[in-house]
C-alpha cells in the first residue's frame, strides 16, 4: 500500500447492514480493494478507527434520529467524496413507511416505554441532509456496481451505471416479458436497473427494490395496474415498499390513494 493510498470510510445509519456486507461479499476482490485503499474506518469489519478526513465515505442507512441528523453533517465535513449506498441511504428504505403514519403509534406498538425512544417522525435519504456526490441504488446494492463505483471514484472518472429501467435489462438478456406473457404484476417499467433483471429471471415480477428509474412514467404504470384489475390498496403497497421515500414512488402512492378516495365518494354520491 502506497503512503498516499486513498482513505476509505464506511458509515452506518438506520439499515440492515446488508449494503456494507456487499463490500465483504466482494471476496475475491476484497483483498485487492483493501490493498488499493486505506480502510480508515469500517466498524463492521475492524476495531481500528482512523480519524478524518476521508477521501471516500460510503454511507449506508437512512436518517431517523436527531443524533444521526447531526452525525451525517460531521461525516460530510470530513469526506471529500460522499457516496450514498442502498435504498435506505438513497430513498429512506423500508423504514420510510413511517412517513405515511404517525410515528408515535409505531413506537407505542413496539416499545413498552415510548418515552425512552428518541426518533424522528420521518426516515429520510442522505441527500435530504447533505450534498451527496454519488448514489448507488438497490435493496441491497449490486456488489459489482459498488466495485465499479469505487474504481471510477478512485481513478477520477464517472462511474458507468445505467439509469435505465429494469425492462431494458430484460430486453438485453432476452428474457420474455413476465407481464405480457404471464400476466404478472411487474414494476420493471418504472424501476431502476442494476439487479440484472433478477426477479423476471426467477419467474417473478419486479417489486421495485432498486427504487425509481430516471424519469419514470409512474402515472401510466399505475393506470396499467388499474386496467389489470389490481385493487388500489395493492397498487399503493407496490409503490410503498423498499423505496417508499423516493419522491416518484411516494407521490404516485399518494395519487392512487387520492383517486381511490374520490371514486369511492363519487360512487357514494350516486
Amino acid at each position: 500500500m502506497a503512503a498516499t493510498a486513498p482513505r476509505l470510510a464506511v458509515w452506518k445509519f438506520a439499515s440492515c447492514d446488508g449494503c456494507q456486507l456487499s463490500l465483504l461479499d466482494l471476496e475475491d476482490d476484497l483483498l485487492a480493494v483493501a490493498g488499493a485503499v486505506e480502510i480508515a474506518s469500517f466498524p463492521e469489519a475492524s476495531r481500528a478507527v482512523g480519524p478524518g478526513p476521508y477521501d471516500v465515505s460510503l454511507v449506508e442507512g437512512s436518517i431517523t434520529t436527531p443524533h444521526d441528523a447531526e452525525r451525517i453533517q460531521d461525516i460530510r465535513r470530513n469526506s471529500r467524496i460522499l457516496v450514498a449506498i442502498g435504498s435506505c441511504a438513497t430513498a429512506g428504505g423500508i423504514q420510510a413507511l413511517r412517513n405515511f403514519h404517525a410515528v408515535k403509534d409505531f413506537v407505542s406498538l413496539v416499545y413498552a416505554h415510548p418515552t425512552y425512544i428518541d426518533t424522528l417522525a420521518t426516515s429520510t435519504p442522505i441527500s435530504e441532509h447533505v450534498k451527496v456526490d454519488h448514489e448507488l441504488h438497490g435493496c441491497p446494492i449490486n456488489k459489482r456496481q459498488l466495485l465499479e463505483l469505487l474504481n471510477a471514484t478512485l481513478n477520477g472518472r464517472k462511474p458507468v451505471i445505467s439509469p435505465h429501467p429494469v425492462c431494458t435489462e430484460c430486453k438485453r438478456k432476452g428474457i420474455v416479458c413476465v407481464m405480457v406473457a404471464q400476466d404478472l404484476v411487474c414494476m420493471g417499467p418504472v424501476t431502476h436497473a442494476g439487479c440484472g433483471a433478477l426477479c423476471p429471471r426467477y419467474q417473478r415480477g419486479c417489486f421495485g427494490c432498486y427504487g425509481p428509474s430516471d424519469a419514470p412514467n409512474t402515472a401510466a404504470f399505475a393506470s396499467s395496474l388499474d386496467f389489470h384489475g389490481l385493487p388500489p390498496e395493492a397498487s399503493v403497497r407496490l409503490f410503498r415498499s423498499f423505496a417508499a421515500g423516493a419522491p416518484e414512488f411516494r407521490d404516485q402512492s399518494l395519487a392512487i390513494e387520492e383517486s381511490a378516495k374520490r371514486s369511492t365518494s363519487s360512487k357514494a354520491g350516486h
Binding site: D17, G18, E27, L31, I117
Partner: protein
C-alpha cells in the same frame, strides 16, 4: 497504574466487528462488576408496526430487510409462521430446498463471523485484513468458504443478500438438478475445509470461563434443528412453539433500543450454536459428530468462547447436509404449494445462525397482516451477554485497560450479536471506581 486502582470504568463506545450499533458500559469495584450494560443504540425501525396492513405474501421480503446478514432466517421464520396460520405444510423436496438455502446462509454467516469477525480476537489482530498479512492461508480459506455459502444462496435465492426466490409455500422458480450439481465440487472442498477449520479452532487458546447456562434451542425428532421442532432446554423446558409467549418475556429498558428477553420466573438464557450443539449433539450428522469428537468437544460445553469451535462443527454439518440434499435432489412437481387466504394466527421458530428467531402473525380472511411479533436471537441473548461480562469482572480487573477492553469485546462477539436484528450494538465503557 491501572492495576493499583481499586475501581475503574471500561467503555467501548462503538463495538466493532458486529452487525449494527452498540456499546458496553461496565463499572468495576475491585474485582466486582457493580454495573454492566449492553447498550444498543441501533435506530429503531418499527417493523412490527408497519407489517400491519401489508399483504401476507409480502412478509418474507419485508422481514428479510431486518438483517442483511441473515435474511434467509427471516424469510424462513415468516413463511413458516404464516403457513401455520393458514394450515399449510411444505414437505418433501421443497422442504429440502429450504434447508439447502438455509445451509447456504449458515455457511456464509458462520464463515463471516468465524474468520472475519471473531478469529482476529483470538490471534490478536484488529481485523481480518491485518490478520491476512500474517495468516494468508486462514483468511483466504475463510473467504472461499464464505463465497460457497453465497453461491448456494445466490443460485437458489437469486442473490446472496435479500434473496428474491422465497415465497409462502416454497419458491418462485425451481432449480434444475444440473444447476445444483455445479455447486458440488466447491461444497466437497468446503466440507474438507470445514473439518480443517474444526482442528484449527480447537488448537487456539481459550480464556478459562464457564457459566451454568440455561441453554435453549429447538429439538426435532430426527434432525439437527433448523426449520422446526419443540423448544427445549437443559433445565427441563420442553414446549411447542405456540407456547413461546407464555414462557418467554421481552422487556424494554432505558439504555437500549432492543427488547431483552428472559424466561418467566427463571431469568436469562442462552440461544445459538452452543445451545444447539449441547442439546442436539445426538442429532448431528456423523461427519460433524466425528469432527467434534476429534476436537475433544462434547456436551455440555459451557465455555462461550468455544462457540468458535462449535461454529466450525456446524460448518461441517451444513456442508455435509448441502451435499446430501443436492445428490438426492429430484425436482418437485410444482415450485410452491397453493396458499389460501383465511383468518388465523401462526407461530414459528427457526434456528438462525445466531439462535432462535421467533415470528408470530395474525392474518385476516383477505390475507392482510393484522398483527406481527418478531423476537431476534440477539434480543434473547442480551441479558446472558451481560451476565458473562459480570462474571468476567475478576479477569477484567486483573488486566490493563486495553487488554480488558479487548477481552470484554471478545466475550460479546462470542454471541455473534446482530444488532440490526435485535433492534428491532457496540460501544464499551468499563468504569473502575
Amino acid at each position: 497504574m491501572p492495576e493499583q486502582e481499586s475501581s475503574r470504568t471500561l467503555k467501548v463506545d462503538y463495538l466493532a466487528r458486529v452487525e449494527g450499533e452498540g456499546s458496553i458500559f461496565m463499572r468495576l469495584e475491585g474485582q466486582q462488576a457493580r454495573e454492566v450494560r449492553l447498550q444498543i443504540f441501533e435506530p429503531p425501525r418499527f417493523f412490527e408496526g408497519f407489517l400491519r396492513g401489508r399483504a401476507q405474501s409480502e412478509a418474507p421480503d419485508i422481514t428479510a430487510r431486518i438483517c442483511g446478514i441473515c435474511p434467509v432466517a427471516y424469510q424462513m421464520s415468516s413463511s413458516h409462521a404464516i403457513e401455520r396460520a393458514l394450515g399449510v405444510t411444505v414437505e418433501g423436496a421443497l422442504r429440502k430446498l429450504r434447508r439447502l438455502l438455509y445451509a447456504g446462509e449458515y455457511i456464509e454467516s458462520h464463515a463471516l463471523h468465524l474468520f472475519m469477525l471473531h478469529a482476529p480476537d483470538f490471534l490478536g489482530y484488529e481485523d481480518a485484513l491485518l490478520m491476512a498479512k500474517d495468516h494468508p492461508g486462514v483468511v483466504t480459506r475463510g473467504l472461499r468458504m464464505k463465497k460457497i455459502g453465497n453461491a448456494v444462496v445466490e443460485l437458489l435465492g437469486g442473490r446472496e443478500i435479500h434473496p428474491i426466490n422465497v415465497r409462502l409455500g416454497g419458491f418462485y422458480r425451481l432449480p434444475a438438478r444440473s444447476e445444483l450439481e455445479t455447486l458440488l465440487p466447491e461444497l466437497e472442498w468446503g466440507l474438507e475445509a470445514a473439518r480443517e477449520t474444526v482442528s484449527w479452532t480447537a488448537g487456539l487458546a481459550y480464556p478459562e470461563f464457564e457459566q451454568d447456562y440455561e441453554f435453549v434451542s429447538l429439538r426435532h425428532p430426527d434432525e439437527y434443528p433448523v426449520n422446526e421442532g419443540r423448544i427445549v432446554s437443559n433445565k427441563g423446558l420442553d414446549i411447542p412453539v405456540e407456547q413461546y409467549d407464555e414462557i418467554f418475556v421481552e422487556e424494554h429498558d432505558e439504555h437500549s433500543t432492543a427488547l431483552r428477553s428472559h424466561i418467566k420466573g427463571r431469568g436469562p438464557y442462552l440461544t445459538g450454536p452452543l445451545a444447539r450443539f449441547n442439546l442436539n449433539f445426538d442429532r448431528l450428522r456423523p461427519p460433524a459428530r466425528q469432527a467434534a469428537l476429534s476436537a475433544g468437544l462434547e456436551p455440555a460445553c459451557r465455555n462461550p468462547f468455544k462457540s468458535l469451535i462449535v461454529r466450525a462443527i456446524e460448518l461441517v454439518q451444513v456442508f455435509d447436509e448441502a451435499l446430501a440434499i443436492i445428490r438426492e435432489y429430484q425436482p418437485p412437481p410444482v415450485p410452491h404449494v397453493d396458499i389460501p387466504t383465511r383468518a388465523g394466527t401462526g407461530h414459528a421458530i427457526t434456528e438462525a445462525p445466531r439462535g432462535m428467531l421467533f415470528h408470530r402473525y395474525t392474518v385476516d380472511a383477505e390475507g392482510i397482516i393484522q398483527d406481527a411479533k418478531i423476537v431476534a436471537p440477539t434480543s434473547q441473548n442480551q441479558r446472558i451477554i451481560e451476565e458473562d461480562l459480570r462474571l468476567l469482572a475478576p479477569q477484567l480487573a486483573a488486566l490493563d485497560p486495553a487488554r480488558a477492553t479487548w477481552l470484554a469485546e471478545q466475550a460479546v462477539r462470542n454471541y455473534d450479536p446482530c444488532i440490526s436484528c435485535s433492534c428491532h450494538f457496540l460501544k464499551l465503557d468499563i468504569e473502575r471506581v
